[in-house]
Every structure is written in C-alpha cells, then in structure tokens.
Amino acid sequence: MAHDSHEYIPEIAVDRNGNEHVVQGWQGDNYGGKLGFWLFMLTEVMMFGAMFMVLTYYFTLHHADFIKASSELDRTLGGINTVVLLISALTMGLGLLKMRSGDVKGAKLMIWATMLLAVIFLGVKALEWTNDYKEGIFLGLQGLQSGNEFSKPFGEILFFGMYFTMTGLHGFHIIIGIGLMLWLLKRINSGKVTPEHNILHFNIALYWDLVHLIWVFVFPYFYMTGAGAIHG
C-alpha cells in the first residue's frame, strides 16, 4: 500500500446539484484490503474443496477400506493438534485485539505465542508421520505401492495418499503462516503496522483462522471417520 509519508487526501466529486461526494481512492482503502484478502481465502476454499471432493469420490467407491484406514490413524496426536490449533486461534485473535486497543507490546507477545503453538503443531505432526513411517505407512513404501505382498487394498492406498497430501499441504500452510507472522513482527517493529494501520495484522489473523478452519474438516474426515469402527 501507499507509503505512509504521502498521506492520501481523498478527492471530492461534485454532482449536478452541487452536492459533494467523497471519492474512494485505492490508497488506504482498508475495507478493500480486507475484501481482497477474503477473496484470496476463497481460492484456498476452492483448492481444499477440490481435494475433499477427490477424497469423497474414493470414499464412495471404497467405503469399508476408508473406515479401516481411518481407524489406523493416531487419534490422540490428532486430537492434541486440534486443541493446539484451537488455542493458537485464540492467541492470534487476542493479539489483534491488543493491537487494536493500542497494546503493541502485548500484541507482539501474542503473536510469539501463536508461533510457538504453530511450531508445536508441526512437531506433533512430524512425530505422527514418523510413527506412520515406522508402521510402513508412507508414500513410496511398499504398503502404498501396488502389486506386492504388502500392498494394502486400493481404498487404503488412496486414503493414505490423500492423507499425506492434504495434511502435508495443510502443514505447508502452517509454515507459511509462521513466515507471515515473522514478517508481521518485523513490520510492527519498524512501525509500519500500528494500532491505526493494522490491516496486515488483521489479514494475517484471518489467514490463521482459515488454516484452523481447514483443519476443522481435515481432522474429523481423516481421524474420526473410522473411530466407530473400534467400538463396533
């Protein structure tokens, strides 16, 4: 957006009766920035939506296999991550509140907290993938290849294929989120983001909520679909 040193002075348009109307310029258009970011997030919705569609396509074809595969995932670790993300959404939100109420220092603290939780999330994820690997479930391992003695049924291969794809891409979004937060801190420190000009902070908070939102569906789809299978 505009360099703050050149404050934008809105223009006035005059209609035929001499009434004055303020013109919205592109400079300093907070609402425009927010709208733009929401539109960007819709593209994420479409991307993950398409992946969920692929997943559901195969779920329909291989119902039993999917439930079996799902019951093999570690629900405890998945659950921990769900709670971690939940809390991180809170800290992010509180950070923004603090920023808007003028408490820049508190806001920075909250961003750090969010980042910490994000790293924990990634750590748990890494642990989980390692466990999967040890159990022979990983892309490229024999179990997920076709035509050998360890080959899993199609439904399970496809389930895990999408599991690694989608949790992987979700994790990638977390990493990007961390990057964005670091950048945000830098902008706050250099005074580019202030309680009055907080659109960047606002949008990054939105992004983080979106990442959380995606998880809200990824988690039950992969981890909980087969949960009933054990209890009968």
């Binding site: 400079q27 692929v54 439904g155 291969i157």
Partner: protein, 558 residues
C-alpha cells in the same frame, strides 16, 4: 490536485531515472496493460507458427516434413500457448487493465503493486513455459526439443507416463493460473470499491460487467486446476495413487477436475469479449443499447451456469450415463443467456445509424462467426451427437470458431476500437477494413471444412489421416495461408498507425463511456482530471450525439 505518492513515483519501488526501468517497475494500469499486450502478442506468433507447422504437415496424408512425435508437441505447444499464455490472460489483462479503471472513473486498480507483481508472475510463468521447450543435454552440450506431448488437456495417465517435459509445463500452467487469480482478485476489489460516486452496478458500462463476471471465474475456478496440477505432480513424484489405475486411481477423475476449471475458462475468455461487443454496437449505432439489464445479467448467469456444465467434455469418457444426462441438460442453459445477448445487440441496431467503421465491421463479422461457433457447441451438447463428434475435427472447428472467431476477433475489434485511446492516433481505416475482409474469408475457408471432415470421422490430434480426408485439409491449408497473410497485413497497418497515424483527438468515435472523456489522448498518468459524479446511464445518445458532456474539470456541462 495535491501531490500524491503517485506523482512522485508510479513505480513498484524506488525512483528509477531511466525510461526503461520506469516501464519495468511501473504500477500504472495502462502501462501494465500495454506490456501484457506486447508479451502476449509475441507468444501468440509462436503459437501461430506452431499452427502453421501443423497445417503444412497435414497438407497430405503420410509424413511431410516433421515426425509424429514433433507433431504432437506442436499441437500441445499451440494449445498451451494459445490457452494459458494468450487467451486466458487475454482481454482482461490487456483491456481490463487499460480501460476498465477508466470506465469506472478510477485512478488505478485497487492494488497497483499487486498488479505489477501479477504481471511479473505472468512473465515468470512464460519463462518456465519456455524452459520446458528444451532439454539441455549436458553430455554432448546439445539442446533437445522436448516439449510436452500431452495436448493442452494434460490427461492422466498419459501425462504421468510420457518422458517429455510435462512437469515444467504443469508448473508453468500453475504459475500462470496464480497470475490469473490475482488479476481477477484485483479487478473484483476495484469494481467493488473504486467506482466513481453515483455509479451503481447498473450504471457500469457492459465491458465492466464482462470483466466482473470473468473475474469471478478467474478467482473461483482457477484454484481447482491449480490443485489438479499439484495433485498430478504429487502423483508423478510421490505416487499418491489417485490418478494411477494400478493403485485404484481413476483417470476419469482427472478429467472431472481438469474441466471443472477449463470449461468455466472458456467463458472466462468469451465474457470480456462480449463486453467489447456491447461497447462497440451502441457506439457505432449511435443510440442507446437495447436491454442493458438483460445483457448485464446474462453475463452473470453465463458465468454462474458455466460452472456447472464441465461434464460435456466427458460424454465418451466412461462417466456414468446419469451424469451425462445432467450435464447435457445444464449445458443448454448457457445458450439461452447468450442468445439473449445476441438478440439485444441486433435490436440495438434497429433504427440506429450504423457507422461501418473498422471496429463495427469486426463486431458484425464476429456475430456471424461466433453464432456458428456457439451453435456448433449446442450440437455437441447433444449427448448422442457428441458420442459421434467428440474428439473429431468437428470439435476443433467448434472451438476455433468460438475462440478465434469469437474471442480473438473481438479482441481485434477492441484493438481497433481503443487504439486511438491508447495512442492518440488513428490507423489507416481503408487498409484496416481490407485486412478484416481478408481475415474473415481466410477464417471461414480455414475452419468450415473441418466441420464436414469431423462429421465424416476425422479424429483430432492425428498426425496422419486416411486419404478420404485430404480435400478438407487442403482447403484448410489455403484458408490458413490467406488468414495469416491477413493477420500480417493487419498488424502492419496497426504498427504503421502507431508510427505515422494522424492525431485524432480524445473521442474520435463519438462514444459515451467515461474512458472517452479524458483530458488528453494518450491518457495522462492519473486518468481523469477529477473523478466525475455518475448519475447517468452508460450509453445515452440523443439524435446520434452523446448526451453527457464534461468540462475540463469533469463537471457536467450538458
């Protein structure tokens, strides 16, 4: 006006002294539009060259001068460039950038720097696409032509099996898709936020409506193809299995995903083109457009329904018959709003004063060619008919009539229409009209025979064909020669116009919309001197003269 950021430097960053760097870093929407045009136009000729290569090769059955593999790469190159590098960015990137902000009385798009970034993202996409042309063989230091040979549709599993540079091509398509998304996003926010005071949605010029509907498609359909390409890459490198039949993956699913984007993409191409038509017809009929509201809303409904009909590309793919029926049914619903537009345009000519200047000639010519393209689309939307015609030259003829005879022709119409706006000069109209006639004749000679060949069973993407089809290919060949000659002549005329054209003032066509009310031509940096207040309809004429007039401070004086 007070000093603003924009006066000091209209660049993404820094204050470059050299003109060259000022262009490279510019955030001015008009300059970015012009740069898009130059780049596209260059690629466009590469694709034309590939097309001509194909036509030469197909002159007679058997091998002429390239082998089958090279031929397959040629039509892939042709399709990929035409679609991803040329026609999808096409009108939005060029005229959406240059005139859309002018039409709504804005000083620029909502995110000028994002616009700059998008342009360079597009360039990166182009470079990646180019890099996929060749393999560098380190051993003997030779460049080997190794472009993808999958067709622009990249169908799995072929695209996963071939050892040509499919991966780079996919990455290029992904990057270009990102650029397209960002363009759409920028325009959506611009149209929502930066309209001049008083201009509500139903006071916008119809080109802006076209861009608006298009932007929604860019924004919401492109991510689907993006993720499809990513899934294909993951499939290739990590074997996730979803497109690999030996792991239970279904190749037909790839086609679903691909067309969920690529069908809306064809409306993404045509809607802004229809917008140009809606500008030209009233301007050269010297009267107000007929059925403004229905034209505007039909753009929106074409975009909306267009999302739901992708399956008409899968009529012979093994998809279920139930789905075929649904898709066929829905497809026809796109034709209705399109028809409404056509009738509205014709009705606009009724009791007008038809000025057959070059842009109008192009517009009327396109009515003919696109009607043929669209009606042939309706033919293949009939399932039973498409079972016979799918993947034949009939389809090829359909979409060239729609894309070349619809989109590109209207692009040309737009070029001739807005040429004086951008350059402040006029090309030689006699020559430009002559170029139109050559192109129009060449075009029909080139593509019409293909309808017949297709009906008789000539499959597409055939390097060689049964001798029965030779006559059609030969007529096409001569058509192509005439067409390309006309093309060269047209560009020659335009370039002469840039160099030596006569200055023509700000509103040579007597048009009404805001982009013709600029203080000077070419337009100054921040567009209109003042933002006008808009409480009038976009195409108000009285006795053949524009009703709305402004003084130099954009105050109404009529």
């Amino acid at each position: 006006m007070s000093k603003s950021y924009f006066d000091e430097t209209h660049c993404a960053f820094g204050h470059p002294k050299s003109t060259f760097m000022q262009w490279m870093l510019t955030v001015d929407h008009k300059r970015i539009g012009i740069m898009y045009a130059v780049v596209m136009f260059t690629f466009f000729f590469v694709a034309v060259a590939a097309a001509l290569t194909m036509r030469f090769e197909l002159f007679a059955p058997g091998q002429q001068f390239i082998d089958a593999h090279t031929f397959n790469q040629a039509f892939t190159l042709h399709g990929v460039i035409m679609v991803f590098l040329f026609i999808i960015p096409g009108i939005p990137a060029v005229f959406g950038n240059i005139v859309m902000p002018l039409m709504i009385g804005a000083k620029d798009v909502s995110f000028p720097r994002l616009n700059w970034f998008t342009f360079w993202l597009y360039i990166i996409g182009c470079i990646v696409a180019l890099s996929s042309l060749f393999n560098f063989n380190i051993a003997d230091g030779k460049l080997v032509f190794n472009f993808a040979d999958t067709g622009w549709t990249f169908y799995a599993p072929y695209s996963l099996n071939t050892d040509t540079n499919v991966v780079t091509a996919l990455v290029a398509a992904f990057i270009l898709g990102m650029a397209s998304i960002l363009t759409g996003l920028n325009f959506l926010v611009t149209i929502h936020r930066l309209r001049a005071p008083g201009m509500d949605f139903f006071k916008m010029p119809l080109f802006v409506w076209g861009i608006y509907a298009t932007a929604w498609i860019q924004l919401l359909a492109t991510p689907v193809v993006g993720i499809t390409l990513i899934l294909a890459l993951l499939e290739k490198y990590f074997g996730i299995g979803i497109f690999d039949p030996s792991k239970g993956g279904d190749p037909v699913l790839f086609q679903h995903l691909f067309w969920i984007y690529s069908h809306p993409a064809v409306y993404l191409m045509i809607l802004p083109a229809f917008g140009i038509m809606s500008e030209i017809i009233p301007a050269f009929s010297r009267r107000e457009i007929f059925g403004y509201h229905t034209i505007a809303l039909s753009s929106a409904s074409i975009a909306g329904v267009g999302y739901l009909v992708w399956g008409h590309h899968l009529f012979t793919s093994g998809m279920s018959d139930t789905a075929k029926t649904i898709f066929s049914f829905l497809t026809f619903f796109v034709a209705i709003p399109t028809g409404v537009k056509f009738y509205d345009w014709v009705a606009t000519m009724y009791k007008g004063k038809i000025v057959l200047a070059t842009p109008m000639l192009w517009a009327l010519g396109t009515m003919i060619t696109f009607a043929i393209g669209g009606l042939s689309g309706v033919t293949i939307a009939m399932i039973g008919a498409d079972i016979h015609l799918q993947d034949t030259y009939y389809t090829i003829a359909h979409f060239h009539y729609a894309m070349l005879g619809g989109v590109v022709f209207l692009f040309f119409a737009g070029i001739h229409y807005w040429f004086p706006l951008v350059f402040g000069k006029m090309y030689n109209e006699t020559r430009a009209k002559l170029a139109f006639y050559i192109l129009f004749i060449g075009f029909n000679l080139l593509w019409f025979p293909m309808f017949i060949a297709g009906y008789y069973g000539m499959p597409r993407r055939y390097f060689d064909y049964l001798p029965e089809f030779q006559i059609y290919h030969q007529i096409s060949f001569w058509g192509a020669i005439i067409f390309v000659s006309g093309l060269i002549f047209m560009f020659y005329t335009l370039i002469q116009g840039i160099r030596k054209g006569k200055p023509c003032g700000v509103n040579p066509w007597n048009a009404t919309t805001l982009e013709w009310h600029l203080p000077s031509s070419p337009p100054p940096l921040e567009n209109h001197t003042k933002v006008p207040y808009v409480d009038f309809r976009p195409y108000e004429y009285y006795h053949g003269q524009p009703v709305v007039k402004f003084d130099e401070n954009m105050k109404r004086i009529d």
